[in-house]
Symmetry: C2
DNA sequence: CGGGACATTGAAATTACTCAACTAAGGTGG
DNA sequence: CCACCTTAGTTGAGTAATTTCAATGTCCCG
């Protein structure tokens, strides 16, 4: 439906930050960066706008320049699952770019968001011209695949409580070592969707973990890890 | 532990079939195929031998030439999850090749199996030299990622019964249109592991589906789909 | 300050797992 | 080629985990 076309800025030439941020390109020389930037288009989306949705046919790579994007899928049952949240420098759309011709997931701007677009044909040209970029792309895919398979295994073999504990522990290391307190990067509703459970269960399990002395809920979104080792043995 | 080194054949120069089977390479000219084949080593594994296991550091891509290989993961809880089964032409080991330096999963020969190995350095050289191969690799990753994310979503949002129904339906279309009967490609024990449930539940759900008239169990491994539409509405 | 979404809580219901006992099948060596 | 042994599969009963539904509380943003 509304795909944001109304409020797009087309600058033709976009900010360098768009491209130079991305691991995929950040090893390139200035000259090569300029070349990509020339093929890049900048588009803005308002909070809650859909960037693409399942069934759309895709012909571009989307790089987040500013803002936050939520990637989710709908199951056969109609339930929604949050797949990941993209921050500046992250990209999406690759699926449809390289294999399937239509998107299987939904991308939604969580806040006002600026995105850089690269057309499939331009990108492929680039990949053939600079093979080192392909290697980066492969590495990125490899990491995502690894993460996705790990997630699948967790869903199929761990109970909700364990999945939550592992999630909290991993959130903690992302904050840097020594940190013991952090802010959840998403609402508990989204967290429930991400971890394959319900908000009610999240709420109850957080309470359990607090009662058992593993964590402390400072506020709804602020969590303190009191006993990391204990948490990991849950 | 036993990684098969005792019974390996090293032919130095392996069968063309090894390489030409793989989608990744099958578009290449004979001359280029020869070049890859030169960098390829053939290794054999006996039934039940481990080809690699989590924690091994990897430096090769494994292409199945003959046989069948089971890729599985162990969860933090110690439970095993079957990730996929590889047949001739499929490959694995790419994870450790491009990003992580150690395997996160286990690969086990299900029957006597012949594998072609390509060393990381040779492969990377090749990818840089023939960019079209990279594009194929990217496409392959993209497909796998898509499949893995779909699986994750199913685990997190569908009940076991639905996952089984979807699995059966998909097994059916792989057999070709018009087919109505097929043989399960793995044991029900493995199927349970693959679908994130237990053999007991598989057994019971199969019975349910049969009682409700959606399928018929000809033998333990032979399944007839009686009412595909009904099955998909489960 | 009010409204709407998010979050929490309780109670009931569902779903799947575990454990244990039993049966069936398949492959191996005699 | 058959008997045997091992592994796979089934069935039942009890239990654990999580979801669902409904009611209520709370936060935050405009």
């Amino acid at each position: 439906m509304d795909k944001g076309n109304i409020h797009h800025h087309h600058t033709g030439k976009s900010h360098k930050s768009c491209v130079s941020l991305v691991p995929m390109f950040n090893h390139l020389e200035d000259e090569q960066l300029d070349e990509i930037m020339g093929a890049t288009q900048s588009v803005s989306y308002k909070k809650n706008e859909l960037i693409y949705h399942a069934g759309d046919e895709s012909d571009s790579l989307y790089i987040i320049n500013k803002g936050k994007v939520r990637i989710y899928r709908l199951a056969e049952s109609g339930k929604e699952q949050l797949v990941r949240i993209l921050n500046p420098g992250d990209f999406t759309g690759e699926m449809a770019l390289f294999s399937e011709s239509t998107h299987e997931s939904y991308a939604e701007a969580m806040v006002n968001t600026k995105i850089c677009l690269i057309k499939r044909s331009d990108l492929q040209e680039f990949l053939v011209k600079y093979p080192s970029v392909s290697l980066k792309v492969i590495a990125e895919f490899s990491n995502r695949l690894e993460a996705s398979e790990k997630q699948t295994t967790r869903f199929s073999t761990e109970k909700v409580e364990t999945r939550i504990a592992l999630y909290l522990a991993e959130s903690l290391d992302q904050e840097g070592t020594g940190t013991i307190e952090f802010t959840l990067s998403m609402s508990k509703k989204d967290l429930a969707s991400y971890l394959g459970t319900t908000p009610e269960t999240i709420s109850r399990k957080f309470n359990d973990l607090e009662e058992r002395g593993y964590i402390k809920q400072i506020t709804h979104k602020r969590i303190k890890i009191v006993d990391l080792d204990g948490l990991l043995l849950v």
